[in-house]
């Protein structure tokens, strides 16, 4: 039971991040591989906020969201000029830059959080304080869920309100036909910047929750794998509404556990799981491009 709750914590974390990607890929139509990088920015911002600045849990999460949203501006500027293949390459560049910055921004002997050692490099940041509210600290997975689920709910409600608002409608119009929407007077740059900021902000929140739960982070949270997993969750689950990202996160996190019930040699198990993920992605894209629960077909 504890293990299931542990998984649900991760579902909360990744759903939050995928809801952010929904704005970038679903509403703006731009495939970003850098979402994992912003997830990591959130992790590190939370960790530094807690360890170095000594901020509260909620304030640190907010701090992580703001930093991630702020760093999304270069990506948004590139998103104005490029769509499709070029944008994917640009986002890959951002991903690599963030990973390098996190891995290399350290100096042995310097204090964490100082200008010469912002991230502790490959050693990572340990002892990140967990989730707590008004002095009460969450010790077990069940208690963590009690704090994370409201976060997910808030993010979900915000997504829902924004997707259905005139803002979401204009964003979808810009995605469908940019020239026509601009010909109606819609400033594309402004909408894109806002969408990227909100999307990356949610990724930052997800990262912060991850750092809070895991207690230790290192540069591997910024790997390309994270970005690919988030994109796969959104594509398989579906984009354009709030159900899709959550369904995607559930599938990708619970499916390996279901597969554990299938007897296979331990040496093969991990590769088999990755193989099955790949097959699942191909099948969904081929047979149901809308994703299992989404409304928008990712072109």
């Amino acid at each position: 039971m504890n293990y299931v709750l542990h998984l649900l914590v991760y579902v909360c974390i990744y759903s939050t991040a995928t809801l952010g990607l929904n704005f970038i890929l679903g509403s703006c139509g731009r495939l970003s591989l850098a979402h994992g990088a912003y997830f990591a920015v959130g992790c590190y911002s939370y960790a530094l906020g807690r360890v170095v600045l000594g901020l509260d849990f909620a304030v640190s999460v907010g701090f992580a969201a703001i930093v991630a949203a702020g760093l999304s501006v270069p990506l948004a500027v590139m998103g104005r000029r490029y769509r499709g293949d070029f944008f994917v390459l640009m986002s890959l560049a951002v991903q690599v830059l963030v990973l390098s910055a996190i891995t290399c921004w350290f100096k042995p002997g310097a204090a964490l959080g100082s200008w010469s050692n912002l991230t502790n490099g490959p050693f990572g940041i340990a002892g990140v304080s967990g989730p707590e509210i008004a002095g009460w600290r969450a010790q077990t997975p069940a208690q963590a869920i009690a704090l994370f689920l409201p976060c997910l709910l808030i993010v979900g409600v915000l997504s829902f309100v924004w997707l259905r608002s005139p803002w979401g409608r204009t964003l979808r119009a810009l995605r469908d036909d940019e020239l026509a929407a601009r010909g109606l007077g819609k400033p594309m740059g402004r909408f894109l910047t806002q969408a990227f900021a909100l999307g990356c902000g949610f990724a930052g929140i997800g990262g912060a929750l991850y750092a809070a739960y895991a207690g230790y982070i290192d540069p591997s949270v910024a790997s390309l794998d994270q970005g690919v997993i988030l994109v796969s969750m959104l594509v398989v689950g579906g984009s354009g509404n709030i159900r899709g990202p959550i369904v995607g996160a559930l599938i990708f996190l619970l499916l390996p556990e279901v597969l554990r019930a299938v007897p296979m040699a331990e040496t093969v198990a991990a590769s088999a799981r990755a193989f099955i993920f790949g097959i699942l992605l191909i099948l969904v894209v081929h047979l149901r491009p809308h994703g299992l629960a989404g409304v928008y077909r990712v072109e």
Binding site: D176, G183, L184, G185
Partner: protein, 485 residues
């Protein structure tokens, strides 16, 4: 203004006033669409200046833009800037928002919406909702203005007919509070009923709202607009000449996307004419040649029915008049003209003949060989050449490459000057000429199936093409589909 190295405009200037209908006309390649794109901000001229004077606020854009303006994007000459100043446009290829309903298409266009700032739906949702309700009421009024109340609830804009979709496009531009409307070929591809509706709509709009409307149209479609025009800008050789007052109705404007049989078949007429009523407004006229009378049929389509998404498009019976399955026999030298209103299924029929759509029943034979199940490339090598109504050439290739891809041995004289240029740098009419050359002059073409081949051509282009078709007619069968008169 130079386009791909080819100078389009040089020292052009003209003017227009409020409440006017201005027609921009010119031959293929004269620069009508280029001028439209410049005036709506989609294209920047190579040099010159644009002086905008809207409601007293003046603004001047000088070209070419200095590098610091290009870098920072301030004072940017962009479509959204001009749209907010009141310049709206409709597009030749429609550009409706395909994942949204008709209502959403119209609502999106309204400027200065509170809800477009993500802060307000969170903080003051009631104000946003109130504004949304007002916007919806306005949309209903606007849709009633373009006489399309019945489609307001439509879920998918793809299910609208071409005429309805064009009117939704105009309504959308009006919703964006456009005071000056630029319409790019509003009559293209419409049948007679659709064209009358659009012309009437424009006249009403100008009269009731004092809009200024600029219409770009091909000479072949202009005839119906000329009586309403207050000014005509004729673009020729990079300059614009103006005529105030309705222009002269030219003799050749009777020929156009709606082709008259007599023009096509010529006074040195065919041996016999066959007219078949296909139901639901479709009519097939076949000019049989003497030469082909005794010969084996080149193209035989028997009892064809085609369905799309479960619905019979060709064959089966439609409500009202029944459209029975189609039988068509063409011998060498025959020219068949299919005239039908929009939505009848002309494109579906032609695509089924070309192999792009499967037949639900029936049989197609080419020179005795059964090709009912053959894929399109086999049909092409067997001799059926198909010209689509849109997306019918390769934009990234040069004209020479396109012609050699199609196996055209000798490039036609009227395309000689375009040979090294990329297809996407040519104007609409010039691209159509290239596409026609690919479809009709390709290697081994014995049956030419052409979907609305005249849609962008000017008088000269049509004359050239007619000469070519009649010259080659003896050995080939031709099937042409056009919107009905």
């Amino acid at each position: 203004m130079a386009y791909g190295g080819h100078v389009v405009f040089c020292g052009a200037d003209a003017e227009a006033c409020e409440g006017e209908i201005v027609i921009l006309r010119g031959d293929n390649g004269s620069g009508k669409t280029t001028l439209l794109n410049i005036l709506t901000g989609n294209l920047q001229p190579s040099s010159g200046f644009i002086h905008l004077d809207i409601n007293g606020g003046c603004e001047m854009f000088v070209f070419p833009r200095p590098f610091w303006r290009r870098l920072t994007g301030l004072g940017h000459f962009a479509p959204e800037r001009l749209a907010r100043a009141g310049l709206g446009r409709s597009w030749q290829e429609l550009r409706l928002f395909r994942t949204q309903t008709v209502r959403e298409n119209l609502s999106v266009a309204v400027p200065r919406q509170l809800g477009e700032n993500p802060l307000w739906p969170l903080v003051t949702p009631w104000r946003v909702n109130r504004q949304e309700a007002a916007i919806l009421r306005d949309c209903e009024r606007r849709i009633a203005e373009v006489e399309l109340t019945s489609v307001l609830g439509t879920e998918h804009v793809d299910s609208l007919s071409l005429g309805q979709a064009k009117r939704v496009g105009v309504a959308r531009a009006l919703n964006a509070e456009a005071r000056i409307l630029f319409l790019d070929e509003p009559l293209a591809g419409l049948d007679r009923q659709g064209r009358i509706a659009i012309v009437r709509l424009l006249a009403n709009l100008v009269a009731s709202r004092r809009l200024t409307v600029f219409v770009v149209e091909h000479p072949s479609n202009i005839g119906e607009l000329l009586p309403f025009a207050t000014r005509v800008w004729t673009i020729h050789d990079g300059l614009i000449s103006q005529q105030v007052g309705p222009g002269q109705k030219e003799a050749h404007t009777t020929v156009g996307s709606v082709v008259e049989k007599h023009w096509l078949f010529g006074s040195d007429g065919p041996a016999q004419d066959e007219a078949v009523d296909l139901g639901a407004g479709g009519r097939l006229t076949i000019a049989r040649s003497i030469h082909g009378q005794g010969q084996l049929p080149l193209l035989e389509a028997r009892e064809m029915t085609v369905s799309r998404r479960g619905r019979f498009v060709i064959g089966g019976s439609k409500d009202g008049s029944s459209k029975s399955s189609l039988t068509l026999v063409l011998r060498p030298g025959d020219i068949a003209l299919l005239e039908a209103p929009n939505g009848w299924g002309k494109t579906t029929l032609l695509e089924a003949l070309a192999g792009l759509l499967p037949l639900s029943s029936g049989m197609v034979r080419l020179a005795g060989r059964d090709i009912t199940a053959a894929p399109p490339w086999v049909r092409r090598s067997a001799g059926i050449s198909f010209l689509r109504a849109e997306f019918n050439s390769f934009p990234a290739l040069s004209v020479r490459e396109c012609l050699s891809l199609a196996g055209v041995r000798e490039s036609p004289p009227d395309l000689q000057r375009f040979l090294p240029r990329r297809v996407d740098t040519l104007s609409g009419g010039e691209q159509q000429r290239v596409a026609l050359a690919i479809a009709t002059m390709g290697a081994g073409c014995t049956v030419a199936v052409l979907d609305e081949p005249f849609s962008s051509l000017d008088a000269q282009g049509m004359a050239v093409w007619r000469r070519r078709v009649l010259a080659d007619a003896q050995h080939r069968a031709t099937l042409i589909a056009v919107p009905s008169a």
